[in-house]
Symmetry: C2
């Protein structure tokens, strides 16, 4: 497989970065071709703006998604976006490797999503969820957080982790047609012993070794909705 | 009330910006003191990094939350962060005004959250949810999106909107102790008639006129969990 790892951590010595490094090594050793977009190292610009477009279909009024389609087709979209879009198109699997900030991705990674998952290529019209533009590719989240595992669950203080992550898992990755593998989570990372960290690294190596066998998460199918996206009556 | 409006839209002519302008006018006319952080106009830096700290408690290894506490106390945190923290401390109500990007906030606003809601002031230890550092203040989301109202709900294609927004409503605003008012939502904005837009503006003016009577959303209370944050047995 061609695997793209989008990594976003401000500290190169972090445990989170160690997870990224481990995945590069393990996946390369397993015969995959691995590309890394290290957003902090690239000084990636996360701000979607008019500066992303050298041409304008609508010069007086910015409609970001419209200009994404127009400028991508005309090859006038910002070069940093174009380069990332090419990596996405070439990838069979995209792994997002990040520390959870406010139960979501760090802003630099949110900006990669805002700017790189462009209208036209990744979605548009009725091309979303299982009909999304990146259909046939897979994605996975690998993240670290401060909380403990018992803080997530139906009666737990933060509720279910997959519900907290819904805007990313469903609203972003599944939305563009990606098959979403279950996340790999490193809990309580700032507070644990070196031994516990080693154990998470081993667990991650094992997880990466069985990527083929992971059951993807389940999301809506367009065929269950009508042309106006009302749910079809259940048979 | 002192009201802080944090606004994040890349197009100053947008309908979203018109909602922001309307709120400034209505709330000022009602006798409130209104401050606006227009993140695009400020060219706000959304990337949490080592550059945010003039001093370092841990010089060799960046722990972002630790340095937030240390540098805020020593007055060595980046001036743009310090200025926003002061606005938050002075505010009785914070309104976040933005277009929904990927069922979440635009990256420039995510970066405001990552950098401005600092550890120590806003949360820390057992000071979160109803015990959070911003207890006694209120917050509200005002946002526009492309989807229609029927696309959200228990059986709808995107599920419930408040569940999609959970990382912001619960994981961010409620987490820091803010009382969260129900969001004001402008649906289908890129596609609707000028008349429909006027109607949304009138609805928003009416909504702002009854802020005092809005029932806040309900979130976990720390007293329902033990010292290790396991749920206490229900009586």
């Amino acid at each position: 497989m061609n695997i793209l790892i989008v990594h976003a951590h401000p500290e190169p010595l972090s445990f989170n970065t160690a997870l990224k490094d481990l995945s590069v090594n393990e996946l390369t050793a397993a015969g995959h071709t691995v590309t890394v977009s290290d957003l902090y190292a690239m000084d990636f610009n996360p701000v979607a703006s008019r500066d992303d477009f050298a041409e304008r279909k609508s010069p007086d009024y910015l409609v970001y998604a419209l200009e994404q389609r127009y400028n991508y087709e005309k090859h006038t979209i910002a070069p940093d976006i174009a380069a990332e879009v090419e990596k996405v198109i070439a990838a069979d699997l995209i792994i997002f490797n990040f520390p959870l900030f406010w139960f979501s991705v760090p802003a630099i990674l949110k900006g990669w999503i805002d700017r790189v998952l462009i209208s036209g290529v990744c979605y548009g019209g009725m091309r979303f969820y299982d009909q999304g533009g990146l259909k046939g590719k897979k994605a996975m989240l690998t993240f670290t957080l401060g909380g403990r595992q018992h803080m997530f669950g139906p009666d737990a203080i933060h509720g279910e982790l997959e519900v907290m992550l819904r805007p990313i898992l469903r609203g972003t990755l599944a939305y563009v047609g990606l098959e979403v593998l279950p996340p790999f989570v490193g809990y309580h990372v700032p507070y644990i012993t070196p031994e516990a960290r080693s154990e998470i690294l081993s667990d991650y190596a094992a997880y990466l070794g069985k990527l083929d066998t992971l059951e993807p998460l389940v999301f809506p199918k367009i065929e269950d909705f009508d042309a106006k996206l009302y749910p079809k009556p259940k048979v």
